[in-house]
Every structure is written in structure tokens, then in C-alpha cells.
């Protein structure tokens, strides 16, 4: 008797995110050279590489903060069509606010340090048009709770909080509108090892509970190994190796990846 098996998800599903041939130069310096990536719904793509490899630039392009010289970027969402780099400022802002969440390495980039933490989360909802105080309060509390932020401090400004707490506020802000795509730019860099582990725990739990599609950038292989399903290794603006996380870490093909994996061990 033969069991009828479903085709693997990666074969049947359509990718949520498709970026093709992104190239970007800063003056004479190429930051991205023909970088392509696909991410499937519910999947976590990790991007590793040394400083200056273009991984953060790539993420900024995905967040529509930067427009590459060449390349296309599409999201497979009901009301989103065409190359997102062709959108005007207004459409980009609405898309970023409602469909894409981002957590920066430096919380100063993502947070209003003097406003309350709950206010930072509420800002997202306000941009999306929510005008009821009660609902804002309730949803902000929910999002902060989901990112395991101590609710007793929800009205404290981020400048009074520790680094780990600031990252949780950023995370709550990013997931407040249940985005289709969550971008994480070195979310745990600069935190001490134990706090790093706690934040990673939260991220992992969120990913499992909500099946959020994530792109995570880090130079720390441990972080990528913990979270990512697939890995892309970048160097000097190019993708040198890509594949399943286990496969890349166990059996690195490219010389640079081998070096990287070795250096970690």
C-alpha cells in the first residue's frame, strides 16, 4: 500500500517575497551586486555576512527605505501588485506601516525614545488610521505582552529601559499590525549573552505561534542557526552561498562560508 503524500510546502506554495537582481552602488562602491532572494510564507530567511557585506542595505531595500539602481521586489499579497520600488512615497509608507514590520539593531532608529513604550506601539496603529483610544491601548498592551515586555512598565519611555527591553518594544511595534513580513536587522547585537538568549526565545515563540515570515540579518551564526530555515551568505554585496540552514552550516561549499563556520567553532 502506498501512502498518498502531499507535495512539500516549498513546492506548492508561492513565495511571499521575491527580490530579483537588486544592484545598488554608493558612488563607486557597489553595495549590492545582483542580489536575489525568495521567501515563502511562514519561513525564516537568515542572511549572514561580515560588516560591509551589504546585508543591511539589502534589508533596507526590502523595507523600501532605499531604492536600488536595478532590480525588482514583489510581495504576494492580495492588494499589492507590481514592483514595489515603483511605488510613490505615499504608497510605500502605507505598505511599510501596515504590511512590513522592522526591528533595527539601534533602537534609536526605530523608537521615539521620549514617548511612552505603549505610545511607540500605538504610533503604528495610528498611522494605519486607528482613532479610538481604548482600542489603541488594548492593542498596544496585547502587542507588548506578545513580545514578553513587562506590562507594568508599558508607559515608561524607552530611554529609561534596558537594551533588551528596548528591543522588545521595537518588536511589539513591528508586530502590532500583524504584518505579513517581519524584518530583523541584527536584533540581538549589543545585548549581553543571557538577554540575547531571552530575546531569541521570544522571537522563536512568536514565529511558532504566528507563523510570521521573517528575514533576519546577523553576523552572528548562532542567531541564524537558532531561527532560520534557510540561509544566504553575503560577501562584498554578493550572495556567495544559499541553502537550507543545516546544510550550509554542516557542509559549507564556498571558501568564505567555510571560513565563517570555522571561525565560529
Amino acid at each position: 500500500m502506498t501512502a498518498v503524500m502531499d507535495a512539500p510546502r516549498l513546492v506548492t506554495a508561492r513565495p511571499l517575497l521575491t527580490a530579483q537582481g537588486l544592484s545598488l552602488n554608493y558612488g563607486d562602491v557597489p553595495a549590492l551586486r545582483d542580489v536575489s532572494a525568495t521567501v515563502y510564507p511562514g519561513e525564516v530567511l537568515g542572511i549572514v555576512g561580515e560588516s560591509g557585506s551589504g546585508k543591511s542595505t539589502f534589508l533596507r531595500c526590502l523595507n523600501l527605505e532605499e531604492t536600488p539602481d536595478r532590480g525588482s521586489y514583489t510581495l504576494d499579497l492580495p492588494d499589492v501588485q507590481g514592483n514595489l520600488f515603483d511605488l510613490d512615497r505615499f504608497a510605500r509608507r502605507m505598505l511599510c506601516a501596515t504590511r512590513i514590520g522592522i526591528v533595527y539593531q539601534n533602537p534609536h532608529l526605530g523608537l521615539l525614545m521620549r514617548h511612552s513604550s505603549s505610545g511607540n506601539v500605538a504610533e503604528r496603529l495610528l498611522i494605519a488610521g486607528e482613532r479610538r483610544f481604548g482600542v489603541l491601548r488594548h492593542k498596544a498592551r496585547g502587542a507588548l505582552d506578545a513580545s514578553e515586555f513587562p506590562l507594568a512598565r508599558m508607559d515608561a519611555p524607552p530611554e529609561e529601559l534596558s537594551g533588551g527591553m528596548q528591543q522588545r518594544v521595537q518588536l511589539a511595534k513591528a508586530i502590532a499590525l500583524e504584518p505579513a513580513l517581519l524584518l530583523l536587522d541584527e536584533p540581538t547585537t549589543g545585548l549581553d549573552v543571557s538577554v540575547q538568549a531571552l530575546v531569541l526565545d521570544t522571537l522563536k515563540r512568536l514565529q511558532q505561534d504566528r507563523r510570521i515570515t521573517m528575514v533576519i540579518v546577523s553576523h552572528d551564526l548562532g542567531v541564524i542557526r537558532t531561527l532560520a530555515d534557510r540561509v544566504m551568505v553575503m560577501r562584498r554585496g554578493e550572495v556567495v552561498e544559499a541553502g537550507l540552514a543545516d546544510q550550509v552550516f554542516q557542509d559549507p561549499q564556498h571558501a568564505y562560508t567555510q571560513q565563517l563556520v570555522h571561525a565560529k567553532l
Binding site: 511612552s116 500605538a122 482613532r131 479610538r132 483610544f133 508607559d155
Partner: protein, 303 residues
């Protein structure tokens, strides 16, 4: 034809103090501002014999609008007799020959700092408000270039964030003056530092309001019969100051915006902030023939 015959004789000073080209520029910017209600229009902002920040913006607009037959009233925080109000009134009269008044009903042009008169203004009256900071987004976006983009995109979410913060910290909206308001459903403006009490008076008003900031070199306008809606949460209604139940200790007027006068024993007395209304109320009580116009607030309720 000679140049002499085409030009006017030399005069020591232009009519209304500002020279013709300056007035022409302000007139054009006023027309633009009226065409796009609530949108800030930059203008040159010439020198006037007064320090920036003391009402130079309002003064330039008044100098432009004034004619020898315009009756001028100048208010400072509701009072006609403060030094600032008296000086501006005297200056306007001396450069234009226009008659002056303190009576709101008789005035054609009212320049005001921080108050709108309690008596309803008519179609034929113009209110000029002096504005220290015309940019409502400044407190949430210090970068003016980005603030301009936010106006263009009607990206005003952060204004509500400001209100959110106030409610979270203090249990209510603390914004006392310059309450951000949406004009004609499109542009958020700061209505100059008038109290919350005065903002509803601008909504669908019969008169033209011009708001001008001399130091910041911007002016905006609320044309007659234009919607002016203070920004609020759907579930937290707009509240004016609790002055409805207060009585003026000098005139006995009730239900208007009051100034608080602290007393030595720790209590406080109240005095109606619109000094002209107070004076007229006293005169009426003493049996003089005085006409008090219809007021926006009746018994402390906006009508």
C-alpha cells in the same frame, strides 16, 4: 510721457507702512492661503518697527489690509488696553489714518493675540491672529523638510500620538492652547495659541481668519464657512476649559472664558477675559445705551 508723470511723488513713507511690493506679495500669499485652507504659505516677512515675536506677522497682514475707512480693533490676550495692544493700535492708526475702536461689533479688522472675541464675528469682519509657531508638526517632527512631506501626505498619525501620550501621563488631554485642528478635512493647522475654548468658534464661522507668523515667515487662513475640527480620539470627546460656571467678579458676566486672579488668602477671583465684553456688560448694567452682540457661547454652552 515722462517717468515723472507715471509715478507718484516721493513720500517719506508708503501708505500702511509697508511698501507696495511688500503688500502685493502678502496679498498674493493671503489669496493662496485662502484657496487652500489651513495650508501654510511662506512669505517674505519684512521688517516692521517691532521685535520679531511681538506680533510682526499679524501687523504685516493688518498693514496690508487696512484702508482709511477700516475700523481697527487690537486685542492682546482678550484685553484692548494692554501695552502691546495699545501700541499696535496706535501704530496702525498713525500709518493708515484709519479709525480705531475697542468695540467688537464696530470693528472691521481685528488683530488679536491669543483670543477670539466672545461676540460672534460677521461676514464683513476679518480676524488676524498673531502666530508664534505655525507648524503643528514641530513637536512631533523637528525636521521641517519631513514635516512638509507629512503635510503633503496628510500623514498626521503622530499628532494623535501626542494626545495619546498626554492621556496616558495625565489622564486627560493637556494641550491648553494651540490645539491642533483639521481644516476643511485636509490640513492640520495650529490655530495660534488661542485656548481650547476658542477653537470651536472657528468652525463654520462667518468671518475670514488670517493667521500669520512673522518670525517663521508663514501665513495660513481659515476662510468663511470652513470646517475646523480639533483632533480627538473617537472615544475621548473634545473638552473646552471648565469656565462655563464661572462669574466675572467685576461685570457679573457668566459663562465666558475667564482670567483667574489669585487672591492673598489663597482663593481666586475671575474676570472675563474679553475686556470689551466686560466693559459693555458693566455699562449695560448701569443703564447706559450699549449693544452687546450675539455671543458664540450662551450660558457657557457653544451654540
Amino acid at each position: 510721457m515722462t517717468l515723472q508723470s507715471l509715478t507718484k511723488d516721493w513720500e517719506p513713507m508708503a501708505y500702511g507702512f509697508l511698501d507696495g511690493s511688500a503688500k502685493r506679495e502678502i496679498r498674493r500669499k493671503m489669496l493662496k492661503a485662502i484657496s487652500v485652507p489651513g495650508c501654510q504659505m511662506p512669505y517674505a516677512s519684512r521688517e516692521v518697527p517691532m521685535a520679531r515675536g511681538w506680533g510682526t506677522g499679524g501687523l504685516q497682514v493688518s498693514c496690508t489690509l487696512v484702508t482709511p475707512r477700516t475700523r481697527i480693533k487690537v486685542i492682546d490676550q482678550g484685553a484692548d488696553d494692554s501695552v502691546n495692544a495699545a501700541s499696535i493700535r496706535k501704530f496702525l492708526a498713525s500709518v493708515s489714518g484709519a479709525p480705531v475702536t475697542t468695540d467688537t461689533l464696530q470693528a472691521d479688522l481685528i488683530q488679536s493675540r491669543h483670543r477670539i472675541p466672545e461676540e460672534r464675528l460677521r461676514e464683513d469682519q476679518v480676524l488676524v491672529l498673531q502666530v508664534p509657531n505655525p507648524e503643528p508638526l514641530r513637536s512631533v517632527q523637528p525636521n521641517m523638510s519631513i514635516a512638509r512631506q507629512m503635510h503633503a501626505d496628510a500623514d498626521y498619525g503622530r499628532m494623535w500620538l501626542q494626545l495619546y501620550e498626554q492621556i496616558v501621563r495625565s489622564g486627560r488631554v493637556m494641550q491648553g492652547a494651540s490645539y491642533p485642528s483639521l481644516v476643511n478635512g485636509r490640513h492640520v493647522m495650529t490655530p495660534s495659541p488661542i485656548p481650547r475654548w476658542d477653537v470651536p468658534k472657528l468652525h463654520m464661522a462667518r468671518h475670514l481668519t488670517l493667521l500669520s507668523a512673522g518670525r517663521e515667515k508663514r501665513l495660513h487662513a481659515v476662510p468663511p464657512f470652513t470646517r475646523v475640527e480639533p483632533l480627538v480620539f473617537d472615544d475621548v470627546p473634545y473638552r473646552v476649559e471648565d469656565h462655563a460656571g464661572l462669574t466675572c467678579h467685576r461685570s457679573g458676566a457668566r459663562g465666558f472664558f475667564m482670567n483667574e486672579i489669585p487672591q492673598a488668602d489663597g482663593t481666586s477671583l475671575h474676570e472675563v477675559s474679553d475686556s470689551d465684553l466686560g466693559v459693555k456688560t458693566i455699562r449695560a448694567a448701569e443703564g447706559e445705551d450699549t449693544r452687546i452682540g450675539a455671543t458664540w457661547y450662551v450660558d457657557g454652552e457653544m451654540s
